[in-house]
Symmetry: C2
Subunit: 190 residues, 2 copies
DNA sequence: TCTTCAACGAGACGCTTAGTACCGTAGATC
DNA sequence: GATCTACGGTACTAAGCGTCTCGTTGAAGA
């Protein structure tokens, strides 16, 4: 056991809560380390002791669910088309809220610098282990589907669409997810 | 005619060239306004007089072709599948170069702040007027295609894929563009 | 119990950059 | 030739980054 005082869980939580609050209040780009310290009632050094950058704090806040409380697991009923389109429906509806779309936009921007944030965002959206790609491959192996594209290509197309929706603020039309997924999987929609 | 000296075209060009040089040399995020002024041999005030932000300079450099000299017009042979897949092939091959992918990544990041940059990027990539969406619609009207998705959905899927490739640095497999576009248009590949 | 040691809140410090203000100069209009 | 505006250059304020150093607090070891 190391000597001295242990890391303060209260401070850690306060930092994660503070960054979520500030991003919501003043936008991702305008949040400074100093403002986080003040908002959290914490010394700046305490932040720099544990996090090398703002992105690292964001990554942890994402992993803990402090930034985005909702999660979007892909259902597993055995029907890949229904599972994936139900999932996409939830994600697109979530992004229909302008605040959520703006937040995801900022997180995507941060992902360009920080691959870890990219990974955490994908996790939050349910797009990591098992990925949509793996789901498609299972359905293909089970003989349920014979899509023209590889699982990985479908995965990229769907994630890319989610990204475009986050950036473009297109309104979501109910039922659209089902038609999209059906077309990508090469199945006639119900 | 306004009194006094006119705007210096030499300075304007020097600024655009300087930002392109510096982005290439030290990466998008590390380029400061002061460095641009020094590199261009121009007073800082001259920059602030004409551009409200770094993003505005980038937008103009994009529009002039200073940042990305290549352009990617969608061919118009009348065969929508061939046209779009030839175009996508060129774009994905371009992004296979890591430098180009990194540049596009930075530009996408800037697009989140600045819709104008998003528009200019789309223009450079050939994805604005006429868009892929319009091309698909023409083919549909001419009875060449009956895709399951709307032109706009296909447009978003393809642009999203381009974005994912720029971010994910996936290598490009020759011929992939054709299979992707064929599947999205609901046509069996040749 | 008492010593030791690391994390803590707080804040001073040097550094860099943003953005503004002002200089004297050059060039274009009246 | 008088006037006006953009120019290159420089000084300036404001703000944030990241480092460093206080005195304090609290947990582990003797």
């Amino acid at each position: 056991m190391p000597r001295g005082a242990a890391r303060s869980e209260a401070s850690r939580t306060a930092i994660l809560t503070a960054i979520a609050t500030l991003i919501d209040r003043m936008g991702f780009d305008n949040v400074t380390i100093e403002a986080i310290a003040t908002e959290a009632g914490v010394g700046k050094q305490t932040i720099y002791r544990w996090y090398p950058s703002k992105n690292a704090i964001v990554a942890e806040a994402l992993a803990e669910g402090t930034l985005v409380p909702e999660s979007f697991p892909v259902p597993e009923t055995g029907d890949a088309l229904a599972d994936i389109s139900a999932w996409l429906e939830r994600v697109l509806a979530f992004l229909g809220d302008e605040t959520h779309a703006a937040l995801l936009g900022s997180l995507l921007s941060a992902s360009i610098d920080s691959p870890e944030i990219g990974l955490r965002v994908a996790e939050r959206l349910g797009m990591a282990s098992p990925t949509v790609a793996e789901r498609v491959q299972q359905a293909r192996d089970a003989g349920q589907l014979r899509p023209a594209l590889t699982g990985e290509q479908i995965d990229q197309l769907i994630f890319g669409l989610v990204v475009m929706r986050a950036l473009g603020r297109a309104p979501y039309v109910p039922g659209e997810a089902h038609r999209l997924v059906a077309a990508l999987l090469g199945v006639a929609p119900d």
